[in-house]
């Protein structure tokens, strides 16, 4: 099958998904409105903003102080350990002093610590022969995404208590952004090439640390899903979607050596498109404005990026730019109209 046919199939599927989504949303709009109480708000006053910013500065200064003293004393502490301990302190301060700004920083810190350690674990050093175990780097990519899904569940649990609504938003936003960015990356040519390289190497079983991370992460994630479903915290559809994502990221660790192919590119792009449409749809169902904004922005970026990616080489340049301009205008108009419509529904509800 040549590239033109594949592109046409991809476009037909994309249009079908968008049209289906449009019909679904228009039907739902007739009977539901969104509550705007779900807006993301970092602070309620200048004092609170400054308080959070100074705590943030304090945590960063603490980490650098520890690294600096460690260097003075001859590298007594590893700097990943400094990142880990600072992240825990940051989480404590975030909850103790209601500093929601500290939370994403501490979560990113925890993930960075795991990533740094896992990078070491993928290279199993045999001191006798200096053998490089060369475990598939894909685990460094897929496992953080799997762990981030658990954050989403924590967000759902936090969302049950009005006191922790802002924390819930942070826990929900981070995985959504991480997964969207990751899918964007692997759907590009560069990303597919990287994916090809990441699947080369030995299995995750060759490193007990990685295997333990995998089993613990998977078990906690599965436990979290069942708990939130059992307590009616997550809707069944939400649970199913989370489970699918978890299965995709969890099983991708075992992918055999893959080679760059059009089928893979088409699959990843369609998967990304479905993810973005699902994001918009979830925003409406969950009545979250930021979900809708994030979904519409990502969908807009997706269409523009893919247009440049696919049409730049085989369209005449003048036709390419004229079509790009028309696409941009029409798309911008439709997306703004749709976004305003969704957001105005939220105001009506108040």
């Amino acid at each position: 099958m040549n590239i033109e046919i594949l592109i046409i199939i991809a476009i037909i599927i994309a249009l079908g998904v968008i049209a289906g989504f449009g019909i679904l949303v228009s039907r739902i709009f007739r009977r539901k409105t969104i509550s705007s109480a779900s807006n993301l708000r970092i602070s309620f006053s200048s004092e609170e903003t400054l308080s959070q910013l100074f705590f943030l500065l304090s945590v960063f200064f603490l980490a650098i102080t520890a690294i600096s003293f460690s260097r003075n004393l001859g590298n007594v502490i590893e700097w990943p350990l400094v990142i880990l301990s600072s992240s825990f302190i940051s989480i404590f301060l975030s909850y103790r002093f209601k500093g929601v700004l500290l939370l994403p920083v501490s979560l990113i810190g925890l993930f960075s610590w795991w990533f740094l350690k896992a990078s070491e674990w993928t290279i199993l050093e045999n001191p006798m022969e200096a053998v490089d175990a060369d475990i598939k780097d894909l685990s460094l990519f897929s496992l953080p995404l799997l762990f981030s899904l658990f954050l989403y569940i924590i967000g759902l649990i936090h969302g049950q208590n009005r006191k922790f609504e802002r924390y819930a938003a942070v826990y929900n936003v981070l995985p959504v952004i991480a997964i969207t960015v990751a899918l964007f990356f692997v759907s590009t040519e560069l990303g597919i090439e990287a994916l090809e390289e990441m699947t080369v190497g030995a299995d995750i079983f060759n490193s007990w640390q990685l295997l333990l991370s995998y089993i613990l992460g998977g078990a906690i994630f599965a436990g979290g899903i069942f708990y939130s479903l059992g307590k009616n915290i997550a809707r069944p559809v939400e649970g199913a979607v989370l489970f699918i994502y978890g299965a995709v990221f969890g099983l991708s660790v075992f992918l055999p050596d893959i080679s760059k192919s059009l089928y893979l590119a088409a699959f990843l792009n369609i998967f990304l498109l479905i993810h973005l449409v699902a994001l918009l749809f979830a925003g409406y169902l969950k009545k979250k404005d930021w979900f809708i904004n994030l979904g519409s922005l990502s969908l807009f970026v997706f269409i523009i990026v893919k247009y440049f990616d696919w049409a730049f080489d085989f369209l005449d340049k003048s036709v390419f730019f004229i079509s790009a301009g028309i696409l941009l205008l029409v798309l911008g108009w439709f997306m703004e109209k749709g976004r305003r419509y969704m957001l105005s529904s939220s105001k009506v509800a108040v």
Binding site: L57, I64, S68
Partner: protein, 228 residues
């Protein structure tokens, strides 16, 4: 058509804090129609919006003015810096900083030109930061450059506390972040030569404690307390 006396009545009563409903009641009792009262309110709203935009323009002009004056002075001093003696250099830094602070304070407190006054105080705090670097350069002080940003931040925090100025506190935050970004580079790149120089570590520890204390101070000031 709304009468001028109705508009004046609404303006005066809004100024003394009377509610919109009460003003409506009084005017209706005085024989005015709902439409004319509504028109009066909307005319006043437009007037207030115009005043707001004028104030905003004044603020922007004051800030840009302060920055331009500062840039001009810096440019003049930089061009003639080599020819000026150390004593005069310090004098220039101190005088320009103190005059900015004093001018700003006079404008803010005596003449109630809050925005222009704060712009001048901000200029003074920028001169203070520049002064730290210039004095370090003049006397070849052996220290890591991000430490200067921390010292600048300390000065800003003290000034912010003295003047109770949010502008200065907000300015202290990016200054602190520059030190945070700069220090790791300094630690990993130039550490070999200054391995036993504990100054940076002590300054960093102080910065940790000071920023934490300021976090607590603002946390206690933040209202309402029960909002998450």
């Amino acid at each position: 058509m709304v009468e001028q006396k109705t508009i004046d009545y609404i303006r005066e009563n809004l100024a003394i804090g009377k509610s919109k409903e009460d003003i409506y009641k009084d005017l209706l009792a005085g024989g005015q129609t709902i439409n004319s009262i509504g028109e009066g309110f909307s005319l006043l709203t437009t007037e207030y919006k115009k005043e707001d935009s004028k104030k905003r323009i004044t603020t922007i002009m004051a800030v840009i003015g302060a920055i331009l004056v500062g840039a001009g002075i810096f440019s003049f001093v930089a061009a003639n810096w080599q020819e000026i003696g150390k004593f005069y250099k310090i004098l220039i830094i101190l005088c320009s900083m103190l005059s900015s602070y004093y001018g700003g304070w006079i404008l803010k407190e005596k003449y109630h030109r809050v925005k222009t006054g704060e712009a001048l105080i901000l200029l003074g705090s920028i001169i203070y930061g520049a002064g730290i670097f210039l004095i370090g350069q003049m006397f070849n002080i052996r220290a890591n450059w991000p430490d200067a940003f921390i010292l600048w931040m300390f000065g800003l925090l003290a000034l912010g506390l003295a003047l109770d100025s949010f502008v200065i506190f907000y300015f202290a935050v990016p200054v602190g972040f520059v030190a945070i970004v700069g220090h790791p580079f300094d630690i990993f790149n130039n550490f070999a030569e200054d391995r036993f120089l504990f100054t940076s570590s002590v300054v960093l520890l102080t910065a940790t404690i000071v920023t934490f204390v300021f976090g607590i101070i603002f946390y206690k000031k933040a209202v309402p307390r029960d909002i998450y």
